[in-house]
């Protein structure tokens, strides 16, 4: 091995090492910020090294594409509001899946082109790459490489179209769940068809139309599989596609003989799978149930809820909390939508100044990503020790004077405990209704993202404060201030 290829290989090795160490550092709050920098250095090394690979053509095109892609993503990533982070992760993840699919496509098209040349030379078979070099043909993919390339392309394409749908849904471009009869059967048939075409491709029968059919089927499957999923399931799906992209990258890395891609992709594939499992578990559901179950579609036989929603004025709500001993604030996706985290923290600080013990309670799947609420509260400057997770806070609700629910719905719905017919039955919830008083800030009387009625809103000790999260929190702040005057 001469010097340059050795140096390039060394760079890839260092990159893989830095990725693993970086991810490790990101898994602890103290070292997390350094972790992303380590991984970033690894990425920079790997990309720079790739420019120096021998026999690379189209170098100016590569530079142009890298510059355009990096600056566009950098610009949008910097500009977007913190609350839109989940859909940005979905979008960038979809791009990664698309890139993996593009690699697979280029390899397959190149293979088909080489097959065309093959007919000119007798006594060669696509499945015996050794015989190719003898006849002066370019090196071909081995059967294993071809199979993994096809598999990576399939997974990457599904992740691409699926992630884009997830992005569109979270962005609010596609609010409705899209369901039609026999959807599951259609999805299964699509997947089966894509797999069959994939197997034909992997067996060496590679041709242009077949490649096109393969990608169309995979795109459609990703699209249709994601369309019916909504609500609290969205984070699980994004995490799953994140793992998918990792796997696709790993397989395409094998085809290209690039160790950095194999290792980084597989680490993400495994880490993402585990993260997806943790998230599904937090909702007491399996991944299969999330993907193919009919969340929110049960309806019909659910228990009828007695009573009416009882509204409350901001001034009364503020007084209730000002003279309370313990207040627990429960944020949900509505907080993110209304960008209310700063106002809520301002309100909490005023309460703390008055001697009220304030805590924030976070459900594992509150928001649209696990830890979504933690990130938002951290942005507003809420210190760690005021934030409690579900297991920690649930025993404390009976001793809580006021539970303030802001934009959370399904994660505080008592029906999850009492109504076996409810689609969210069995999901662990925050036991808000055990508090002496509950105040719910909510935009209107409608059901939540999952379309399920919430018995909490009709409970005797619940008062509804209608309004946008930020506006309502602002009113509460003003009312508290006027109490002191």
């Amino acid at each position: 091995m001469s010097l340059l290829p050795t140096l390039i290989k060394a760079c890839y090795f260092l990159a893989a090492l830095l990725f693993i160490l970086g991810l490790k550092r990101m898994s602890s709050p103290r070292t997390a910020r350094g972790g992303i920098v380590w991984a970033g250095v690894g990425m920079l090394l790997a990309v720079l090294a790739t420019f120096f690979l021998p026999d690379m053509h189209n170098r100016s095109l590569i530079v142009a594409a890298v510059l355009i892609g990096v600056s566009a993503a950098w610009w949008t990533g910097r500009r977007v509001a913190m609350t839109a982070m989940p859909q940005m992760v979905a979008l960038y993840n979809g791009m990664g899946g698309g890139a993996a699919a593009a690699i697979g496509a280029v390899e397959l098209i190149g293979y088909a082109r080489a097959l065309g040349l093959l007919h000119v030379v007798p006594n060669t078979s696509p499945l015996q790459p050794e015989s190719w070099a003898i006849n002066g043909l370019p090196p071909m993919l081995s059967p294993v490489e071809l199979s993994l390339g096809v598999l990576g392309a399939l997974i990457g394409t599904v992740s691409f179209s699926g992630s884009l749908v997830a992005f569109a849904k979270l962005q609010g471009w596609m609010d409705k769940r899209f369901v039609f009869p026999g959807q599951r059967v259609v999805n299964m048939l699509l997947l089966a068809a894509a797999v069959v075409v994939g197997v034909v491709l992997a067996s060496g029968h590679v041709s242009g139309p077949l490649i096109a059919l393969f990608f169309v089927l995979a795109l459609l499957f990703g699209l249709l599989m994601t369309l019916p999923i909504g609500g609290a399931d969205m984070p699980v799906v994004i995490s799953l596609y994140n793992a998918f992209t990792g796997l696709a990258v790993s397989f395409e890395g094998f085809v290209l003989g690039n160790e950095a891609m194999i290792i980084a992709g597989m680490v993400v594939g495994a880490a993402g799978t585990l993260l997806t499992q943790l998230m599904a578990k937090a909702m007491n559901r399996s991944i299969g149930n999330v993907l193919f179950g009919s969340f929110g579609a049960a309806g019909g036989e659910a228990q009828a809820i007695e009573g009416a929603q009882k509204p409350v004025e901001a001034s009364d709500a503020a007084v209730m909390m000002a003279y309370a001993e313990r207040v627990v604030i429960v944020p949900g996706y509505g907080l993110a939508v209304a960008q209310a985290q700063h106002k809520v923290w301002e309100f909490a600080q005023l309460l703390i100044k008055r001697g009220v013990k304030v805590k924030f309670a976070i459900h594992p799947v509150a928001g649209r990503m696990p830890g979504h609420m933690n990130v938002l509260l951290a942005e507003a400057g809420v210190p760690y020790d005021l934030i409690a997770d579900m297991d920690e806070i649930n025993p404390e609700f009976p001793a809580t004077d006021v539970a303030l629910v802001i934009g959370a719905n399904d994660v505080v719905n008592p029906l999850a405990k009492t109504d076996p017919a409810s689609p969210i039955y069995g999901m662990p919830i925050l036991d808000v209704s055990a508090a002496k008083h509950v105040i719910v800030i909510k935009r209107g009387k409608g059901t939540g993202f999952a379309g399920i009625e919430n018995a909490l809103f009709y409970a005797d000790n619940t008062r509804m404060l209608y309004g946008d999260g930020q506006a309502a929190a602002g009113q509460l702040v003003n009312e508290l201030k006027s109490l002191d005057d």
Binding site: A105, V106, L275
Partner: protein, 102 residues
């Protein structure tokens, strides 16, 4: 080119590695970690560059170009978003700002 079994070993060890790293992570870091791993599979950019570098017909070059664009978006976007998320963790410990030793 990598030998099949060698690749299998790499697959296995890398998967184990990823699993172990995530196994004991506080919920508070789930989102940044998902975002961070989203950045790490941005390494697909390197593969897309290689694919474009070896592409020959205009059609292959077009697809390769799109691949590099998407891969670059994944890497750069993933980094920016993760960095912005993690930036928020600095203020959580009053007084720890000086050393900034992560």
């Amino acid at each position: 080119m990598i030998d099949g079994f060698l690749a299998l070993y790499i697959f296995m060890l890398a998967a184990f590695c990823g699993y172990e790293i995530i196994a004991r992570v506080p919920v508070i870091l789930h989102t940044p970690l998902m975002s961070g791993s989203n950045f790490i599979h941005g390494i697909v950019l390197v593969g897309a560059m290689i694919a474009l570098g070896h592409a020959q017909t205009p059609f292959e070059i077009t697809i390769g170009f799109v691949g590099v664009l998407l891969g670059a978006g994944n890497a750069a976007g993933g980094y920016v978003v993760t960095e912005r998320m993690l930036e928020m963790f600095k203020s959580s410990k009053p007084g720890a700002g000086k050393g900034d030793q992560g």
